[in-house]
Symmetry: C2
Subunit: 156 residues, 2 copies
C-alpha cells in the first residue's frame, strides 16, 4: 500500500512551487537538484502536471514552471487521482479485465471500495495550500534542507 | 494505489476456506487450481497465514488447510496489516530511512496519515465472515465459477 514514485514526485513539484515567494517560478533543474531526484523522472512528472493544468511551463531564457492555479484551489485528492496510474486496489475493481473467479459473490470488494472512498474523502478535504501552510507560518526549512527526525507513527 | 498480489492472494485463501462446509478443509493444490494462480506463490502466502495464526495446516494424507479461528473473529484490517509488506504510503512515513528533504515542514504527510487511518478504520469494521456472507445466503458461485459482469464503479 504505497503511492507510486510518480505521485510522490508530483506532490513534491507542486509543494516546491507553492511555497516559493512571488512570482513562484522555478526550473526543473532547480527542483531536481533540491530533491536529489532524477531529472528524467521529473520531466515526465512535470509534463503530466502541465497537461492536467496544475502547472504552467514557459520555455526559453527566464522560463520555468509555476502553479497553473492558486494553491488553495488545487485539491490534494484531485492531484492524487491525476497522478496515480492505477486506483484499482484489486483486479476485480475493473470487471472488464478481472480474472478472479469469486468477484461476483465476494464481499471484500465492497469493503475495499468503501475504504478507498474513505481514503479519498480525507484527501478531498485538503488543498495544496494546506500542505504548505507550515511554510507560510515561518517554519520553512526548504531553502536550507533539513535532517529528518527519527520518530515513526505506528500503523493505524 | 494497489494491494500487493500477496495480500490479494491471502484474502482469496481465507475466503475460500471460510465458505467451505464443515470441516472447512482444503489443499493448496485445490485452491491453486480453483483460482488459477501459481502454487509457488500460494505456498508463501499460506506459510505467512499459518505463521500469523489465521490458518492451521496439517501434513500428510487427509491433511490440508483450515481456518485457525472462526471467520467472525478474523478482522479484515488485521489480515491486511499482516499481509501487506509495506504500509508506508510515502518514504517520510519512516523517518529512519526517509530521504525527502521537506519531510519535517511538509503538511502532506499528516493528510496521508489521516487518509490511511480512515482506510484502515473501514477495514477494521469488517470480519472475514462479512466478506463471505453472500455465500451463506445461497448466492455462492464458488463451485461453478462465474463470468464477471462488465460494470465498473467510478473512482471516488
Amino acid at each position: 500500500m504505497q503511492l507510486t514514485q510518480f505521485s510522490d514526485f508530483s506532490f513534491r513539484v507542486l509543494i516546491y512551487l507553492a511555497q516559493l515567494p512571488e512570482p513562484g517560478s522555478a526550473t526543473i533543474n532547480e527542483i531536481s537538484d533540491y530533491f536529489k531526484i532524477s531529472r528524467n523522472h521529473l520531466v515526465k512528472v512535470v509534463n503530466n502536471l502541465a497537461n492536467q493544468g496544475f502547472i504552467l511551463t514557459t520555455r526559453g531564457k527566464g522560463g520555468g514552471l509555476k502553479l497553473g492555479r492558486p494553491a488553495h484551489s488545487i485539491g490534494v485528492g484531485e492531484v492524487f487521482r491525476a497522478a496515480e496510474p492505477n486506483m484499482e486496489l484489486v483486479e476485480c475493481f475493473n470487471m472488464k479485465t478481472n480474472q478472479c473467479c469469486i468477484a461476483r459473490a465476494c464481499g471484500l470488494k465492497g469493503e475495499l471500495y468503501e475504504a478507498r472512498r474513505a481514503f479519498m474523502a480525507v484527501l478531498d478535504k485538503y488543498t495544496l495550500a494546506d500542505a504548505v501552510s507550515s511554510y507560510s507560518k515561518g517554519e520553512s526549512q526548504l531553502a536550507a534542507g533539513e535532517n529528518p527526525p527519527t520518530s515513526k507513527e505506528p500503523i493505524s
